[in-house]
């Protein structure tokens, strides 16, 4: 009974759908405020039903399969991608004493499953019979190889500091002091996440002005809805992972609970939108130079710093 509740309601299918509807509306409203506009306003109270109508419309449109595409790649990837994006939800502690799989290799599971998602999207670009999708697919492969190195190096730093890979124990052992030591690692993790989720200034694979829409170009109707669901599920998992690893998870100032985790995730979402509204896009060669000349050496230095702090400052 509890098993069915976990799969269908929380943190399963209904939770992911509600999160997708909420976060799309949230992004549009915050971006509109920075643009001196008002975002969606007339559907529901302050526009909250707008995304619900958008998704319902996408489900009823005709789903076109163009002539000449590879049928296995084109039609099957939109089914596999959301499933793979939702799986890491089982590792994260959502509320005090509530985690679905309490394994002692939690950090490793998160890193591997988050990292494998973009390679499926490359196959969509390869399978549509379109020059622009192919260019988008090649770009996503280049970007992921560079950004994932610094992603897992900085995700390992709290595990090194606390000598455990269990996510619940990492969240329980953190305090103000350890957050201060882990701060450089948190900033490096945030920048790597911007690269993995393809958000500005790294939104090179779906560059609207250069290659129409990258690997999303040939998708319509239900296929597009499933790919977008995979993208929003990735947002949920990466933000929750960041807060749990570096900033204490569900612990709050006066009380513990799910609501503290949620508020900290929203603060990082606002930071991401503010970076989107004030920065243009980078060129592919500049992104490669930035990743390999600055991010990866800094991540290695960060590990040295963590080991030094563990030895001499925390005194273990």
């Amino acid at each position: 009974m509890e098993f069915l509740f976990n799969i269908y309601i929380f943190p399963g299918i209904l939770f992911i759908l509600t999160w997708a509807v909420f976060v799309f509306w949230f992004f549009r409203k915050i971006l509109a405020t920075l643009h001196k506009r008002v975002g969606p306003h007339y559907n529901g109270y302050a526009g909250t039903m707008q995304t619900f109508y958008d998704f319902s419309k996408l489900l009823t449109k005709e789903s076109i399969t163009p002539k000449g595409v590879n049928p296995y790649l084109f039609s099957s990837i939109p089914l596999i991608a959301p499933m793979l994006a939702i799986i890491p939800v089982v590792f994260i502690p959502w509320m005090p004493n509530f985690v679905i799989i309490n394994s002692s290799y939690g950090v490793l599971g998160l890193v591997v499953l988050i990292g494998i998602e973009p390679f499926l999207l490359f196959l969509t670009g390869f399978g549509s019979n379109n020059k622009y999708s192919f260019l988008g697919g090649v770009r996503i492969l280049t970007q992921m190889i560079s950004m994932e190195t610094s992603f897992f190096l900085s995700a390992l730093s709290p595990a090194l500091l606390f000598s455990t890979m269990n996510l619940t124990e990492i969240a329980d052992m953190s305090s103000w002091f350890s957050t201060l030591i882990l701060f450089p690692g948190a900033m490096l993790f945030f920048v790597s996440i911007l690269g993995i989720l393809e958000q500005p200034p790294f939104n090179i694979p779906d560059a609207e002005q250069e290659i129409v829409y990258g690997f999303y170009t040939e998708y319509s109707g239900t296929n597009y809805f499933l790919l977008k669901l995979a993208e929003f599920a990735e947002f949920l998992v990466t933000f929750a992972a960041m807060v749990t690893l570096f900033f204490g998870g569900y612990h709050g100032l006066f009380f513990d609970g799910f609501i503290c985790l949620f508020i900290k995730m929203l603060i990082f979402a606002v930071l991401m939108i503010a970076i989107r509204a004030s920065n243009p896009r980078l060129r592919l060669s500049q992104m490669l130079e930035f990743a390999w000349s600055y991010l990866v050496p800094l991540s290695l230095l960060n590990i040295v710093w963590i080991l030094y702090a563990k030895q001499f400052i925390l005194g273990d």
Binding site: Y132, L135, E208, Q209, V212, R281
Partner: protein, 545 residues
């Protein structure tokens, strides 16, 4: 001008005379002297050519070719004319493209529209017209348009077949990792122009622009309307800046009619022209950042632009297509509410300009992308005859409002806004500085108008229009203004007692700017195409006319 006159001593000329103190008008006897004359002119130091345009005199059975040579250093220019026979089999003349690289596309256009054959031109293929007009030379007088337009569906099938033939031949020619991408008419960043980009992976090997998707044949359209009605066609050359192009046409008509307009009308023309310039530049700044994926400045700039459109709406009734300037002055009398709205707009600009500068023009990511791309040197400006923002950002001092003042610009205090280095970022900086200069010109003009009205020198209800007769005498005139994109020049020819123009040639600045696109982008990557294209400030409306 005396030393230029001496250059023509060895050649046979019909007449040499001075035109408007900056131009020397020369007519040669025979067309075989053209290449030698061009060489002599270039060795003297005059290196740019604005345009090449034929006029069709069907009763005398000749074409009269006009060449407009300009010197961007000393501002002394030469207008050369020569006659060639009109029959298609004998309609030939030497091409001056080997000497003046900027004449390349102008000669191709003259060939496609009129049938003039240019000997030794590097690539004389069909241009601007759609495929059903290949070989029919639509601008010759005596071409039967209505008969050609009866079969619409066959014409459209000809166009589509031609496109498929081209795709087929491309597929046979290339292999491996080379391919041709169509930066096509429905691309999100291009507008209605097609760039054929030949790439190898992500590196560009060649770019060939294919234009003509907004071709409305404006030069033929004004021959069907009368002198006043042509304003409707000419204000829509490019909608972003719509007042300055009306000034250009009105000045040409007034010169042929021999009438002088009042001082009040001249100052009103300065006011309306500068508002048009600000409105267009704000859209240009927003468009530059749009090409890199950042929409925020576009939204803020459009918000500021609405205040200036309120001023135009109060004066003329329409926001964008105003029809507010006509031959004889300006169209409507002035009431003081317009000047009050202008003060509100200037105050809004002063409140927000620091935000624009600090957040966007000093943005380090934009600088790292745009500082080393699309560099145009001073020699290239002279060779390809560039003008406007593009020339001023490379250090060449050229501005028609200061070189050859028109309307009331001789009473205004202004200066050349130049930058060195000529990269994409420098063109953005020049745009921003020009907006600031236009605001200061607006303040001078509005205070001059207020003082004049208060001391009763100007009568705002009656002084705005002078009567121009409906039938003009025979003559020709050229008129140049500083449009927001560069130098706009119109050449108008009228016959005795006619009610509509006989020939109107419009020289648009974006034409020359698109010519150098391949030269700038060879060897760069795909991400640089929208950036360089957006920084050259091209509008497809005046590219195709």
């Amino acid at each position: 001008m005396e030393n230029i006159k001496e250059l023509f001593e060895p050649f046979n000329t019909q007449y040499i005379e001075l035109y408007k103190e900056n131009w020397l008008k020369v007519k040669l006897e025979s067309s075989s002297d053209l290449l030698d004359v061009a060489r002599v002119i270039k060795n003297h130091g005059i290196r740019s050519i604005a345009t090449v345009s034929p006029t069709d005199f069907i009763e005398d059975n000749i074409f009269e070719m006009n060449y407009f040579f300009e010197d961007l250093n000393t501002y002394k220019n030469v207008w050369l004319k020569v006659d060639i026979p009109r029959e298609l089999s004998e309609c030939k003349i030497d091409s001056i493209t080997p000497l003046f690289a900027g004449a390349n596309w102008h000669e191709r256009e003259a060939h496609s529209m009129y049938g003039v054959h240019f000997i030794n031109h590097p690539d004389l293929s069909w241009f601007i017209v759609s495929a059903d007009y290949y070989g029919k030379f639509p601008f010759r007088k005596g071409f039967d348009w209505k008969a050609h337009e009866q079969n619409l569906i066959e014409n459209m099938n000809t166009i589509v077949d031609d496109l498929y033939d081209e795709h087929g031949s491309n597929d046979k020619r290339l292999d491996g990792s080379k391919t041709i991408l169509n930066w096509g008419p429905t691309h999100p960043a291009s507008g209605p122009i097609r760039l054929k980009v030949e790439v190898d992976g992500e590196e560009i090997l060649a770019i060939e622009p294919d234009i003509g998707y907004v071709w409305r044949a404006l030069e033929h359209l004004v021959e069907e309307k009368d002198f006043l009605g042509s304003i409707v066609a000419l204000e829509r050359i490019c909608f972003m800046d719509n007042t300055n192009s009306m000034i250009c046409y009105a000045q040409a008509v007034e010169e042929i009619a021999g009438k002088e307009i009042t001082d009040f009308a001249k100052m009103m023309r300065v006011l309306l022209g500068e508002i048009g310039r600000i409105v267009s530049h704000l859209m240009g700044i927003g468009g530059f950042f749009n090409t890199m994926g950042l929409m925020t400045l576009f939204m803020w700039a459009i918000d500021l632009r609405e205040y200036f459109l309120d001023v135009l709406e109060n004066y003329s009734g329409a926001r964008v297509a105003t029809a507010s300037i006509e031959p004889g002055g300006v169209r409507y009398p002035l009431n003081m509410k317009t000047l009050e709205l202008l003060d509100v707009a200037i105050e809004e600009y002063e409140r927000t300009k620091d935000d624009f500068y600090n957040i966007f023009l000093k943005n380090p990511l934009m600088k790292s992308r745009a500082t080393k791309v699309g560099i145009i040197t001073k020699d290239e400006v002279h060779d390809f005859s560039l003008c406007g923002i593009v020339a001023r950002a490379s250090g060449v001092k050229t501005d028609i409002r200061l070189d050859e003042p028109y309307a009331a610009y001789d009473k205004i205090d202004m200066d050349y806004m130049i930058e060195e280095n000529g990269a994409a970022k420098n063109r953005l900086d020049v745009l921003f500085k020009e907006i600031a200069q236009s605001i200061s010109i607006l303040k001078q003009a509005s205070s001059d108008l207020r003082d004049g009205i208060k001391s009763q020198i100007y009568n705002p209800q009656k002084d705005h229009l002078v009567k121009i007769p409906k039938k003009l005498p025979a003559g020709e005139a050229i008129s140049r203004v500083e449009w927001s994109r560069g130098e706009l020049m119109m050449h108008l020819v009228t016959q005795e007692k006619a009610t509509s123009p006989y020939r109107l040639k419009i020289k648009a600045p974006s034409f020359n700017h698109t010519m150098i696109l391949e030269h700038l982008l060879k060897g760069q990557t795909l991400s640089d195409i929208p950036l360089v294209f957006g920084s050259l400030y091209i509008c497809q409306g005046d590219l195709d006319r």
